[in-house]
């Protein structure tokens, strides 16, 4: 049967198969399918850049057009991964520059990118189209200038949440006048001070990009320029404004309002820094078409937020600050019946006392009123088991649930009990739950619930929870689909880790910081499991300068076919077999 179709036909059939999982399955059917598939795979996603090497990737897939890479572990977002840890993309770009001259897309997350690398990208790939740098760092506006100047057919430049050093030049003017291919531009992470030259370069760029559909600007773009920009790009589907403040002037308002009503395709709005509430009504005309609204920088009162949100009946995604308060969330629950995702961020995370009335009530209201709700991120200061029971009962369709009660180890504020039962109800009822973040006072019981019920859980984040090793053991032994586990400040130690060593090879990674894992256990794990990289991060100096039983600061374990990495800084030690031999 394997010979009944010529290769070209199989290749043609495979070209309709897009998902990575399906492609992987195809490649396992037989040797010839493996061969055909690898030559025609065009897209690859590598969730951990240290799990594989550029050479291995290139050897297997010689004709890639699109590469996605992730570097640092998730906790790097909260400054738990020290500067210099790694995640450098340069070796990848060097290798791809030689192997994939036809590369079109590069998507990076939490990686270190240098200006030199960006220049290399801009010069190595003649047909380069898409550059997405998500939460990356290490580059400046000079690097962006190379991209702008050299990528003739650039369609997408997305710098979402990256840390870019602004050298004050005018990199936007480096886009040649002949560049008219832009479809998506996201520079919202850039600074808040721009010269007039930058602004006019942006206006000209927007003016000559007829295909521009997504434009997210930075805080520096003032409100009085927005109307002009909108008129040049009336087909925008996604807009991120700059600062949304200006001296109150009827002309500015009517101009802006008119410009917005001309943008009939707008579906997503974001930005809204420095909002002057009086200008919010300028967007009312397009509210009914909005599916996504990001107000998480808008420091305005609940009543102003509500006036805006209640006009967006088709809203599917809302990101907002806790200024919305319980009352605002109740209004949301009434108006937005298509809501799928809600994120409520804290306006003052370090205030000892709550500065707003945002409690468990708000989330309960949304869980009651929004039948399509599936994704939640909620920062608040109090919760109860009862509220969690209610949410679980109302919304068994939840797939992502992240609750952050700001003060660690906060119990149910009414019963003063741990929140074990409440989270237990979540995992028991929400059978499709893929992502979960826990908070509040939690014992090992919650992990027993999770291990028993959370069979589809892929990512779990734990902080300041549990009593001992049993908790970790429940999770590692019970959660069949677990891929990423990140733990901080929990009394989990060696026993559970070593007993479930084999499980770790089925996961992408495990992060444990400020727990009770000893150096000895790390060494043992590194020795026993050659396909795991066991890395100790400790700023107190070499782990063998302390007793073996001493807990390490952080251990980061990930599966890899690349062997131990060679680019570790002085504060990271790999627990591979050689090390064990060297130290014994």
């Amino acid at each position: 049967m394997a010979h009944s179709f010529p290769e070209e036909v199989l290749e043609h059939v495979f070209s309709f198969i897009d998902s990575d999982k399906d492609r992987n399955a195809v490649s396992l059917v037989c040797k010839s399918w493996y061969e055909i598939e690898r030559w025609c795979r065009r897209k690859i996603f590598i969730g951990n850049c240290y799990a594989v090497t550029p050479r291995i990737m290139i050897r297997r897939f010689p004709e890639l057009r699109s590469v996605s890479l992730k570097g640092k572990p998730h906790f790097a977002d909260f400054d738990l991964v020290p500067e210099g840890w790694g995640g450098y993309v340069d070796p990848w770009v060097s290798a791809m520059g030689r192997a994939y001259p036809l590369l079109e897309e590069l998507r990076l997350k939490r990686m270190v990118v240098s200006d030199d690398t960006l220049e290399m990208v801009s010069k190595s790939f003649k047909n380069f189209k898409v550059l997405v740098l998500s939460s990356c760092e290490g580059f400046t506006t000079d690097g962006l200038a190379s991209i702008a100047a050299n990528c003739r057919n650039l369609r997408e430049l997305d710098l979402r949440e990256s840390d870019v050093e602004d050298l004050g030049g005018n990199w936007l003017s480096c886009f040649p006048e002949s560049c008219t291919s832009l479809v998506s531009l996201n520079i919202s992470c850039l600074g808040s001070e721009w010269s007039l030259r930058n602004l006019s370069a942006l206006e000209r760029l927007v003016g000559r990009s007829p295909n521009l559909r997504r434009l997210r600007m930075n805080r520096a773009v003032p409100l009085d320029k927005l109307a002009n920009l909108l008129r040049r790009a009336p087909y925008l589907v996604e807009l991120g404004t700059g600062a949304f403040s200006s001296e109150l002037h009827p002309d500015v308002f009517s101009n802006l309002s008119g410009a917005f009503s001309g943008c009939k395709e707008l579906r997503a709005l974001s930005g809204f820094w420095d909002v002057v509430p009086a200008y919010l009504p300028a967007v009312y005309t397009i509210c009914s078409g909005l599916t996504s609204l990001n107000l998480s920088y808008a420091a305005v009162q609940s009543s102003d937020l509500v006036k805006l949100i209640t006009q967006c009946q088709n809203l599917q995604r809302l990101w907002v600050l806790d200024y919305i308060e319980d009352s605002g969330l109740e209004a949301l629950a009434e108006s937005c019946k298509n809501l799928q995702e809600l994120r409520v961020f804290p306006s003052d995370p370090f205030a000892a006392e709550p500065n707003v009335t945002l409690t468990e009530q708000g989330l309960v209201a949304v869980s009651e009123g929004c039948p399509k709700l599936e994704s939640v991120l909620y920062f608040c200061r109090q919760f109860t088991n009862d509220a969690l029971f209610t949410i679980a009962k109302n919304r068994p369709s939840l797939t992502r649930f992240r609750l952050c009660i700001i003060e660690p180890r906060t119990p149910d504020y009414i019963t003063l009990e741990p929140l074990d039962a409440g989270f237990g109800a979540i995992v028991q009822n929400c059978k499709e739950l893929r992502r979960l973040s826990l908070s509040g006072l939690l014992t090992d019981r919650v992990f027993e619930h999770i291990g028993t019920h959370a069979k589809k859980l892929e990512m779990l984040s734990i902080a300041f929870a549990g009593d001992g090793d049993l908790g970790l053991h429940h999770v590692l032994s019970g959660c069949e689909s677990l891929r990423k586990l990140e733990i901080r400040d929990c009394p989990f130690g060696d026993k559970a880790l070593l007993a479930n060593a084999a499980k770790l090879e089925t996961m992408r990674s495990l992060w444990m910081s400020s727990c009770s894992v000893s150096f000895e256990a790390c060494k043992l794990l590194g020795q026993k499991m050659p396909r795991l990289n066991v890395e100790v991060i400790d700023e107190r100096g070499p782990p063998d300068s302390r007793p073996e039983s001493c807990p390490v600061n952080t251990v980061y374990i990930y599966r890899s076919i690349a062997g131990p990495r060679l680019d570790m800084p002085a504060f990271v030690w790999t627990m591979d077999e050689e090390l064990a031999l060297r130290l014994s």
């Binding site: 400054d79 210099g84 070499p542 007793p547």
Partner: protein, 242 residues
């Protein structure tokens, strides 16, 4: 004016600082809050740049920029929270000026809110601090402080081999500390370089764009240095070169 000066420097602290300075004989001081004066411990080592530990990673430009004062407080407390029993002797004491918001206990990386969110919502006035001759920059959040003294204490904790001294036109203290005297200066909104301490604190916070610890020899070019009412109660920073 006198009122301005007492706003800027506390006389009592000045006297004590001088005494400590002569006692310490050039050692790096731990700046403690007033209530802690009696338990001043010269043996406690000071202030490292970012994270506690003997084998520090090489601090590149970027890492210096990333870690501000409050980060150091975070990390110090974070260390205390961890379970390890060991006292490796390289505890970091970070200066915590009294009444500073940074002195409120904060856990590193908690709550899990990304830095750019924290910066954009709460008013944050991060400015870069450069030291002539030093290879890296640091950042301070001016909103964390309520006085020049607090700021200068924090700057001290940021760069190694720092000593703050308040001198009254004396030469003998210069001999004690064999180093180059630095004067804290800042660039204001108009792009002019001014001496730190010339204007009321709030006005300074409002107008400061970046801070530079300038070698005294270069700072003489700044006209203000002679005329500043600040001069008679000069606050300068001395950096010892290794």
């Amino acid at each position: 004016t006198l009122a301005q000066l007492s706003h800027v420097c506390s006389y009592k602290e000045t006297e004590e600082l001088r005494q400590r300075k002569s006692q310490a004989n050039g050692k790096i001081l731990r700046m403690s809050s007033e209530s802690d004066n009696s338990s001043m411990n010269f043996d406690e080592t000071a202030l490292t740049l970012g994270l506690p530990g003997k084998s520090r990673p090489s601090v590149g430009e970027k890492s210096g920029v990333k870690r501000g004062f409050s980060k150091m407080v975070d990390l110090n407390l974070h260390q205390k929270q961890s379970n390890d029993q060991e006292n490796d002797g390289s505890q970091v004491e970070v200066a915590e000026p009294a009444n500073s918001p940074a002195s409120k206990a904060q856990i590193a990386g908690w709550p899990p809110v990304r830095t750019f969110r924290k910066n954009t919502v709460k008013s944050c006035k991060y400015v870069k601090v450069a030291v002539d001759g030093a290879p890296y920059l640091r950042k301070v959040d001016l909103d964390l402080y309520t006085s020049y003294q607090q700021l200068l204490i924090s700057l001290e904790s940021m760069f190694s081999c720092f000593t703050i001294r308040n001198c009254m036109n004396d030469g003998n203290l210069m001999d004690l500390v064999k180093g180059t005297e630095y004067v804290p200066t800042y660039e204001d909104k108009d792009g002019d370089w001014m001496l730190v301490g010339d204007v009321p604190w709030k006005m300074f916070v409002e107008s400061c764009k970046r801070i530079r610890l300038m070698k005294r020899s270069e700072a003489l070019g700044l006209g203000n240095i002679q005329n500043s009412c600040y001069n008679s109660k000069d606050t300068s920073i001395v950096i010892k070169h290794k």
